[in-house]
């Protein structure tokens, strides 16, 4: 029966090519625009660490003075050196990492490459296990290297390819900022999206090329990237003691109970620092997990949301348009339907037949929409924004495209089909 309906549908669609083309085009444009924007949103609001995000937490403390204090104020988004080091060495979490973004001036031993700057992560060793960073060669530096400000470095795969042609470079010595560093490892391709572990250096930045111990970079006064917030304007120039927050601190807590305990620990720590006179405010702490942290920072650009709503509005107009056109198309065939009804077809079969026709339009529109979405995503990738290269259609969205297209068109076909199957056979037969 379905095959017969399909045949009828195709015949009917062929009979009025302009109207059919108009319906398919409207569906395709609406679906194409919606799927492009939904895919971008899907990519940007994804979970960067799907296996682990619920266990990663970002503690916030409030070490500021009382100037300009407002009620219910958020604590700073980063920690100071003293607090960071205190929390790190207290080691109350299952794992912890203290870090900042920075840059290293690389003077390649290969004279054919000009000196250049590479984005760097100045971090404690915990970075690699806590974020499951995959290693291509070698391994992370040792805890002793952190303590001794050792001049060791881990490279990204991309940087290793640029400098050493992709060969195993562990053990080699490279010049960074005029100093010698020993390469201990090379990490494999790794680009969490968003760049959640440090939103100060860009929400969707590529991961860094250089990784070196935080203590080493700070002792050598390497330039840092990101944001630094200072209070009680002082002439203190030493980054280790200045009243400034400039470091990111992450902890891994395996169970919710541990997270609750850790939050209490942060409160106790703030209390203790207040009684020591270092903190002036009442304990003001936050412990958000990864996804909450991304939400709180409104990582997904509002333009992307705006574009999605615009595209969905566009799709709704396209669907209303399709309903109107389908209504015209079905009612124009009232006499034909009248004959079928008179020959014994039930309302239900006529309804089914018309819905098959609507579904066929939806399917063809879906294919058109898919092509338009691919075109749209290609255009998005041409944009210079940092997230542009990430806009690709995955299988989930591909299936979603067809479901949305066929589902929406069937929905649009309901009213016209219902109206058309209400025709009175006798009246239709009489008038012709």
């Amino acid at each position: 029966m379905f095959a017969y309906y399909l045949d009828l549908a195709l015949r009917s669609l062929k009979r009025n090519k302009v109207l059919t083309a108009l319906m398919v085009l409207a569906i395709a444009l609406g679906i194409g625009a919606s799927m492009t924007t939904l895919t971008v949103l899907h990519v940007l609001s994804g979970d960067p660490m799907p296996n682990k995000s619920a266990k990663l937490y970002y503690p916030q403390l409030d070490p500021r003075d009382l100037d300009g204090m407002r009620p219910d104020e958020e604590p700073p988004k980063q920690v100071s050196w003293i607090d960071g080091m205190n929390l790190l060495h207290a080691a109350r979490a299952d794992r912890q990492v203290l870090m900042t973004g920075g840059a290293g001036a690389i003077q390649p031993s290969n004279a054919s490459i000009e000196p250049f700057f590479e984005d760097a992560r100045f971090t404690t060793r915990g970075f690699f296990p806590i974020f499951d960073v995959p290693f291509l060669y070698g391994h992370p530096w040792s805890p002793q290297d952190d303590d001794a400000s050792a001049r060791v470095v881990v490279l990204s795969r991309k940087l290793n390819e640029k400098l050493y042609g992709g060969a195993d470079s562990t053990g080699k010595v490279m010049h960074i900022g005029g100093k010698d560093f020993r390469i201990v490892g090379v990490i494999d391709t790794w680009r969490p999206t968003p760049h959640f572990y440090d939103l100060m250096t860009g929400n969707y930045s590529d991961s860094e090329g250089l990784y070196m111990p935080l203590t080493t970079a700070v002792d050598l006064k390497f330039p840092t990237n990101g944001s630094r917030d200072c209070w009680s304007n002082s002439a203190n120039t030493d980054m280790k003691t200045a009243n400034c927050t400039w470091l990111q601190f992450w902890v891994e807590l395996d169970t919710p109970a541990k997270a609750a305990a850790y939050k209490q620990y942060l409160v106790n720590y703030s209390q203790q620092q207040k009684s020591l006179g270092r903190f002036q405010r009442e304990p003001n702490v936050h412990l958000r997990d990864l996804m909450q942290w991304l939400d709180y920072n409104k990582v997904v650009p509002s333009d992307v949301h705006l574009q999605m709503w615009l595209a969905l509005g566009f799709l709704v107009v396209c669907l209303v348009n399709t309903i109107g056109l389908m209504l015209a198309k079905f009612l124009r065939r009232a006499s034909e339907l009248g004959v079928r009804r008179a020959l014994g077809a039930s309302r239900r079969t006529v309804f089914a037949q018309l819905l098959v026709e609507a579904g066929a339009v939806g399917l063809v529109g879906g294919i058109g929409g898919l092509l338009l979405a691919l075109l749209g995503l290609w255009l998005v990738r041409l944009q210079p924004s940092s997230y542009a290269q990430l806009a690709h259609l995955d299988l989930e969205m591909l299936a979603g495209t067809f479901l949305l297209a066929v589902g929406a068109t069937l929905l649009a076909g309901l009213l016209p089909a219902w109206r058309a199957c209400l025709v009175t056979p006798a009246l239709q037969l009489k008038s012709n």
Partner: protein, 407 residues
């Protein structure tokens, strides 16, 4: 033209009539808001920075293997090299520039130590060449003197004895226009306002600086950091030449530096292009959607009206046989469409205002003003009339003889 028969005819096509009206309403709401967003983005991306962008180049330089303390002499040597270069009118070194989207901001107020009322201001490091290089207009006071320009380490507190502020900052604290000679506080020590410039945009073009984009403060300081920005003013018609000769001259004088390949040396025209890329993209996307939306709505009207014309051929023939002129038939369909369109736009105006309200709550949009809605209404009504014209003309050509054929 009688409206009553039209209304009673429409009652027989309720579904189609409602669909067209709804489609017109939705289109109006979306198009009004989209056009409004386009206009806002265009206003934003054509804002003046206050500097003479056409003659300016930014060169990002990073000295390698140098302690921050020793940057001063390197900076002076480089500035001398740049200022002597043929085609260069002037140059200075700074931490940041307008359109760069990265810089230093702090509170400024009338009381020391962060107390009292304060507003956010961008801090630009400057010297006695800055005003000439950028082409800034002093509206009051004087430029910095070279003796006032001193070195500052990166993490030191910022308490310059003199500052030059933009009129936006001056008017905030001294609305009577007598800011010159007055004290303001960035930190704990007072700064005397020695000059006021008309306009200088902050480095950030969007989002968080939107409410204070004109509040900038120039401080007579040279930032002792291994990375610095040189701003170079080229003489008329020499900018392309300087774009190549400036980095070459710096590298020739000292190779221990990095000037990034991709964005190390750029004109301010390029910086403007880049800074507003996403806003321009958004405006173009909105424009395309508007055009396509109007096209689809017009096509929908053509489609449905054609169907009605086809359906009513007999009635049209009867009317023609009873003495109606072609004009009468034409105006019948035009009036019918106008009635549906009018219902649609009334609904659409409500929808547009509602949608704008929602956008204001969710996306910090401004309030949609009436001229936008009115122009949207006119566009849609005109579009409806244009779309219905072809089917209506076809209807008017139905010969009276049709009436005699099939009934």
């Amino acid at each position: 033209m009688q409206i009553k028969p039209i209304l009673s005819a429409l009652r027989h096509h309720k579904a189609g009539t409602i669909l067209i009206a709804v489609q017109i309403a939705l289109t109006l709401a979306i198009v009004c808001n989209a056009l409004f967003i386009i206009q806002q983005r265009i206003t934003m991306l054509t804002r003046s920075t206050g500097i003479d962008e056409a003659h300016l180049i930014r060169l990002q330089n990073q000295w390698v293997g140098v302690d921050d303390k020793h940057v001063g002499s390197l900076m002076q040597t480089d500035l001398d090299t740049l200022r002597r270069l043929p085609g260069v009118a002037d140059a200075y070194a700074t931490n940041s520039t307008p359109l760069s989207n990265g810089g230093w901001s702090t509170g400024i107020g009338l009381k020391p130590g962060g107390k009292g009322e304060r507003v956010q201001t961008a801090i630009y490091f400057a010297d006695d060449h800055t005003l000439d290089t950028l082409g800034l207009k002093l509206v009051a006071g004087r430029n910095f003197r070279s003796s006032e320009v001193v070195d500052q380490m990166q993490h030191d507190g910022l308490d310059p004895p003199q500052v030059i502020v933009t009129r936006a900052v001056a008017d905030k604290f001294f609305p009577d226009g007598d800011a010159v000679g007055k004290r303001v506080y960035l930190g704990n020590k007072p700064s005397i306002i020695v000059g006021v410039v008309a306009r200088l945009q902050v480095p950030w073009v969007g989002g968080w600086a939107a409410n204070w984009e004109g509040r900038s403060t120039l401080v007579p300081r040279r930032l002792m950091a291994s990375g610095t920005n040189f701003v170079i003013r080229a003489k008329d018609g020499q900018i392309d030449k300087v774009l190549h000769s400036a980095p070459a001259a710096l590298l020739a004088s000292d190779r221990m530096r990095v000037i990034p390949d991709d964005d190390g040396v750029v004109t301010f025209a390029q910086m403007r292009q880049e800074a507003y890329q996403s806003d321009r993209g958004m405006a173009i996307l909105m424009g395309v959607i508007c055009v396509v939306l109007l096209g689809i709505t017009a096509a929908g009207i053509v489609g449905l009206t054609s169907f009605w014309v086809g359906q009513r051929r007999k009635q049209i023939g009867v009317r023609r046989a009873l003495g109606a002129t072609r004009r009468d038939i034409l105006s019948y369909f035009l009036t019918e469409n106008l009635l549906i369109g009018a219902t649609g736009v009334v609904l659409g105006m409500l929808l547009a205002v509602g949608m704008n309200q929602w956008l204001m709550n969710t996306f910090e949009m401004q309030r949609l003003s009436w001229p936008w809605i009115v122009s949207g209404v006119i566009v849609l009504l005109a579009l409806g009339q244009a779309a219905v014209l072809a089917p209506a003309i076809r209807a008017s050509r139905v010969p009276p003889v049709v009436a005699t054929r099939t009934v």
